[in-house]
């Protein structure tokens, strides 16, 4: 087990070094660190002095080593546009994205579990057929189209809900939150609903499939034979055992949800990290882009390694796979 953990951590470090290398190459080959600091209006001679002082004329590997060292200390460069350290910019945008993802996850749970259970218990009813048909079309529907449709109906035609921005936020210990004001909550509805439509079809199908499988097992038959009440068999005995695989998939999909925030944030001009990333691309703010890339890399690597290690504890087979 110890060897497994060490192996996983070494692998994670190698991946991070590679991501760091990519980020470093982008920052130094495509971007211009001098411009990031002093802007365009500096003479070439002065630029050369700054280059020298920053060590930009050093050999490649020394610069890369310095980049990694700084990154470990949390210094990911300086944003050209915001005139602030890149990490600070990203952290200031993080609450918006995190709140969006949390609310989306809540919507997912609240809708997919009842819908999945219902269509598993009554597979032939017209409502479950409708649910399945909608979820088939939902798979083929890109999230930005759903979002635009929602904006058109609820924002433009009916004028019920605001369709861009975060609305009023309150500052709680440095965390800009939209969860505690009525206006902020109203602004959350459309973005989170459209973000949840990406995963809803998948989760409804998953819950349905798991539930149907569990309903065929021996212990459920035994529960029927014992004459237990229907509600008890469904919601207590069967449902409990559908939860485990659902939670596993849910954990994995949360990362993907995070990826899709880039799309929803663009549509709704939601001031989160994804929106910031696209703005950075348009403004050629290389340092900010690289910082975001490295940060997302760290998040994915840490989450994946943690999940693998936890799996290793739970399931010994994972530990052995890939040893030889």
């Amino acid at each position: 087990m110890f060897a497994f953990i060490v192996r996983r951590i070494i692998q994670a470090i190698i991946v991070m070094l590679v991501i760091g290398l990519v980020g470093f190459v982008i920052q130094h080959q495509i971007g211009d660190p001098v411009r990031d600091l002093v802007g365009e209006r500096v003479t070439p001679a002065e630029r050369e002095v700054i280059r020298d002082r920053l060590g930009l004329n050093d050999p490649f590997y020394i610069q890369y080593f310095r980049f990694v060292k700084n990154a470990c200390k949390g210094d990911l460069g300086f944003s050209f546009f915001y005139k602030k350290p890149a990490l600070q910019v990203i952290v200031s945008k993080a609450p918006a994205t995190i709140e969006l993802v949390i609310v989306t996850a809540l919507i997912l749970i609240v809708i997919s579990i009842p819908a999945g259970i219902y269509s598993a218990i009554n597979p032939r009813s017209w409502l479950s057929r409708l649910i399945m048909a909608i979820s088939t079309i939902g798979v083929a529907m890109p999230v930005f189209l759903t979002a635009i449709a929602l904006i058109y109906f609820f924002g433009v035609e009916l004028n019920w809900l605001p369709s861009y921005g975060r609305g009023e936020t309150v500052n709680i210990w440095g965390w800009e939150s939209g969860l505690f004001t009525f206006d902020g909550l109203k602004h959350l509805i459309l973005p989170s609903v459209s973000l949840s439509t990406i995963m809803l079809p998948l989760f409804i199908r998953l819950v349905r499939a798991e539930m149907m499988e569990v309903l065929e097992t021996e212990y459920i038959k035994f529960a029927w034979a014992k004459g237990l009440h229907r509600q008890r068999v469904w919601y207590l005995h069967a449902f409990k055992n559908t939860l485990l695989p659902v939670i596993t998939v849910f954990g994995v999909q949360l990362g993907i949800l995070f990826a899709f925030t880039i799309l929803t944030e663009t549509v709704f001009q939601w001031q989160g990290m994804g929106f910031m990333f696209l703005e950075a691309v348009e403004r050629s703010d290389t340092s900010l882009l690289v910082a975001y890339l490295v940060l997302v890399g760290v998040i994915f690597v840490v989450v994946n390694s943690a999940v693998d290690i936890v799996y290793g504890f739970v399931n010994p087979m994972v530990r052995i796979a890939g040893t030889k």
Binding site: Q11, V15, I26, Q29, I30, G31, T136, I137, V139, A140, M141, P142, V143, F144, L145, I148, A149, I151, Y152, G155, V156, G255, I256, A259, F260, I262, L263, T266, V267, F277, L278, V281, E282, S284, T286, L289, L293, V296, F300, N304, G322
Partner: protein
């Protein structure tokens, strides 16, 4: 002719004829493919030629609505281009990128999966580790990051010029691990079978065994995977274009049309977004339904995902 006769008696055709969903989605897909191949002939206007449209016609609603013009059946977009023609050309671009990206990733993935599965050992461990790592990051994120990097590296003007080949590479690179894994799994299943042993005994060289003997037997899961990957690739292309990282508005794909129309939705010009959007959903839905059907019929046990 022989192959055709064999196909006529095959189970695939038999079950195809009995499945109305498969028949209808196949015919819709064929119509769309023919339209996109014959785009210059079918489209009423050539939207790549700026002489054929006039900014004064911009935002004309569809012809059956008030203010519509008979010349423009589905109305015009923000630059005054006939929306129907723009959509036909856009469909063509989306199809080219979708199919191109799948061919690219299939080539890459099949090669990696083949070598990995056939030779095993260190090479296998190394290649599969890379595939695993990339697999753990959502492919859309990979595509968004690589296209953003390309856009910075090439500069906006050059990126837009080279958009089609670059997007094929970006989307292909983001999805290849799927192929590598599928092919590797089937190669592992095939390589110890008797016919491979027999080929080895009579002294056929390894390259021929790999590509002439094993490869054809791994193609069933690859075929099923490909249908789904085409849909994913078209969807990724639309997403990238919607984010402004894909096709420029002068040569729009369906995604960039939706992006352009979205800016005008608040002024009530819904058709610029609506029609390309519906077309995009139809394309993806039809391919996915066909892929589902194909998976059920061929039922490759190795298919995952």
């Amino acid at each position: 002719m022989k192959a055709w006769n064999r196909f006529k008696k095959s189970y695939v055709l038999y079950s195809f004829k009995r499945d109305p969903i498969a028949i209808s989605s196949f015919s819709v897909l064929m119509v769309l493919v023919i339209i996109s191949i014959l785009a210059p002939v079918i489209a009423p206007y050539n939207t790549y030629d700026s002489a054929t449209f006039d900014i004064m016609d911009a935002e004309t609603p569809p012809s059956w609505l008030e203010g519509g013009n008979e010349m423009f059946k589905l109305g015009t977009d923000i630059q005054g281009r006939d929306l129907l023609s723009t959509m036909i050309y856009g469909l063509r671009v989306s199809m080219i990128i979708g199919i191109g990206a799948v061919l690219f990733q299939a080539l890459l993935g099949i090669l990696v999966g083949m070598f990995s599965g056939f030779f095993g050992g260190k090479l296998d461990a190394f290649l599969m580790r890379i595939a695993d790592i990339q697999f753990s990051i959502p492919y859309l994120i990979v595509a968004i990051f690589t296209s953003a990097i390309f856009k910075l590296a090439f500069g906006v003007g050059r990126y837009e010029e080279l958009a089609i080949p670059l997007l094929i590479i970006v989307i292909g690179m983001s999805q290849w691990p799927n192929y590598a894994r599928t092919v590797r799994a089937s190669v592992l299943g095939e390589k110890n079978k008797e016919y491979v042993e027999a080929a080895r005994v009579i002294g056929i060289n390894r390259r021929q065994i790999m590509f002439r003997h094993i490869l054809p037997n791994t193609l069933t899961p690859v075929l099923v995977l490909s249908t789904i990957q085409v849909a994913n690739a078209i969807m990724s292309e639309a997403a990238l274009s919607f984010l402004g990282l894909g096709m420029p508005i002068t040569k729009p794909s369906l995604g960039s049309l939706i992006r352009a129309g979205f800016e005008y939705i608040f002024s009530g010009s819904w058709w610029i977004t609506f029609f390309p959007g519906v077309l995009l959903v139809i394309v993806i839905l039809v391919i996915l339904l066909l892929g589902d059907w194909l998976r059920d019929v061929l039922n490759p046990k190795l298919y995952k995902g």
